[in-house]
Amino acid sequence: MNKKYLLLAGIAISLGIGILFMPEKNTEKQVQPEQLLAAINDPSRFLSTDDITDRLVKKDPALMLIDVRPATQFSAFSIPGAVNFPIDSLLTASIQDMLNQKEMDKVFFSSSDLTSDQAWIICKRMGLKRIYVLEGGVNKWFNTIVKAVKPAETAPAEAMELYQFRMAACQHFFGSREMGANPVATAEKKEVRVVKKASGDKTGGGC
C-alpha cells in the first residue's frame, strides 16, 4: 500500500517537474503557420485606394490608417488622417495595444504594398483581428486619387463617376484644384452695368 502511495507521489512530482521545465508557452494567441499561410494566400486583405478614400471622406470612425514607413517618409507625405507606426517599432507594447482595438479596421500601408504586407503577416501571426493592407500603398493612392486622370469621352459612365469621386475626394483633402477654383470666380463675375447719364444730355426738349 505504501508503495502505491509512493508511486502516486512519484508520478505527481515528476509531472510537476516536467511542467516546471516546459518551455514557456506564449504561442497560445499566435496563429499557427498553416493557418497563417492560408491567410496569406487569401487576397481579401487588400483594400483598394478608392475604398479607403470613400471611407476617409465619410469620416468612418472605425478606420485606422497605419503608415509603416520610416518617420521621415511619413512627414514628407502621407495619406491624410494616417498614423505613423514604423515597421521596426511594430511589436512594442504600446503599439500592439493600439492595434488590438477590436472595433477598429486597421489598414497598413507603405509606399508600395510590400512592407505593409510584411507588417500584416507579422501582426496576423500575433493574432490581431480586422487588419488589412492598402493595395498599391501611398504611391498608388497618390496616382489614382490626387492625380486622377480624366477618362476619355468614350469611357463608360462609371469611369466618369469614379473620376468625379476622385476629384471631389482630392478637393476634400487638399482644397480645390484649378478646376475647382474657376466656377467660384465665374459665379461672382457678374457683369455690372453702370449706366451713366450725362447730365447735360437730358431729354429735355422744348421750344
Binding site: M1, K4, L8, I11, T27, Q30, Q32, P33, E34, L37, A38, I40, N41, R69, Q73, A76, F77, I87, D88, L91, S111, D113, L114, T115, D117, Q118, I121, I122, R125, M126, G136, V138, N139, F142, N143, V146, K147, C170, F174, G175, S176, R177, E178, G180, A181, A185, E188, K189, K190, R193, V194, V195, K196, K197, A198, D201, K202, T203, G204, G205
Partner: protein, 210 residues
C-alpha cells in the same frame, strides 16, 4: 477485507491517473510546422539585404550558379506549365507546407543549395519566403523582382516597360504643390475678377425739339 478494498481503490486510482495522462499526451495536438523565430526576430529579417536576390544577381545566378541555386516558382501550376525558369521547382503558395514541398526543401538543404523564391511579383514571393524563414529554413532567399525579369525572352524587351513596384516613395510633390497653391490663390483670383464693370454711356438722348 476493508484493507483489501482500500488497496483496490488505490490501484484503480493509480491506473486511472496514469491512463488520463497517457491519453492526454497522445491526443496533445502537435503542429507539424512550428515557428522557430519569435515575431521580433522575424521583424529583423525584413531589412536584411543578404536575404534577398536582386534581378541582376538572379540573372548571374541563372547563368553560372554551379548547381548551388535552385529556383522555386510559387505561382500556380498553370502559369508554371506555360513557362518557368529553367530547372525551377513549382511549389504554389498554398502547398508550401505540404509533405512533398517539405521533402523538397529538406533535399535542397541537405545538398547545401540555396533556394530562391520567385513569383509573378515580389509581393507573391514575400509571404512564402517569410513563412519559410519563420519556420526554420535558413537557405531561402526572396527574388525582389517580377517573374518577367527572369524570363529571358521577356527580360530584354519588356523589362523597361513594366511598372516597377518599389518601396521608394514616388510622390510627385510638384503636382501636390500646384493643387494646394491653386487652392490658396483662388480667393484672390475671384476677387480681382469680380468687378468687370462695363460702363455704358448713353449717347445722345432722344431729345426732341421743334
Amino acid at each position: 477485507m476493508e484493507e483489501l478494498n482500500k488497496t483496490n481503490r488505490l490501484t484503480i486510482l493509480v491506473v486511472a491517473f496514469v491512463l488520463v495522462i497517457i491519453v492526454g499526451l497522445i491526443t496533445l495536438r502537435r503542429p507539424d510546422v512550428k515557428y522557430t523565430l519569435s515575431p521580433a526576430e522575424s521583424l529583423g529579417l525584413l531589412n536584411d539585404a543578404a536575404l534577398v536576390v536582386t534581378p541582376d544577381q538572379a540573372l548571374t545566378l541563372m547563368n553560372d550558379s554551379g548547381g548551388k541555386t535552385v529556383f522555386i516558382d510559387v505561382r500556380n501550376s498553370v502559369a508554371f506549365e506555360r513557362s518557368h525558369v529553367k530547372n525551377a521547382i513549382n511549389i504554389p503558395v498554398r502547398e508550401l507546407f505540404a509533405p512533398k514541398s517539405k521533402s523538397a526543401f529538406r533535399e535542397i538543404e541537405k545538398a547545401g543549395q540555396i533556394a530562391v523564391l520567385y513569383g509573378e511579383t515580389q509581393q507573391q514571393a514575400n509571404g512564402p519566403w517569410l513563412m519559410l524563414r519563420q519556420t526554420g529554413y535558413k537557405n531561402v532567399l526572396m527574388f525582389t523582382g517580377r517573374y518577367a525579369q527572369l524570363e529571358r525572352n521577356l527580360a530584354d524587351s519588356l523589362l523597361k516597360l513594366l511598372p516597377q513596384f518599389s518601396e521608394t516613395p514616388q510622390i510627385d510633390t510638384a503636382a501636390l504643390k500646384s493643387i494646394s497653391a491653386s487652392a490658396g490663390i483662388s480667393p484672390d483670383v475671384a476677387k480681382t475678377e469680380k468687378k468687370a464693370v462695363a460702363p455704358v454711356k448713353k449717347t445722345g438722348s432722344s431729345g426732341g425739339g421743334c
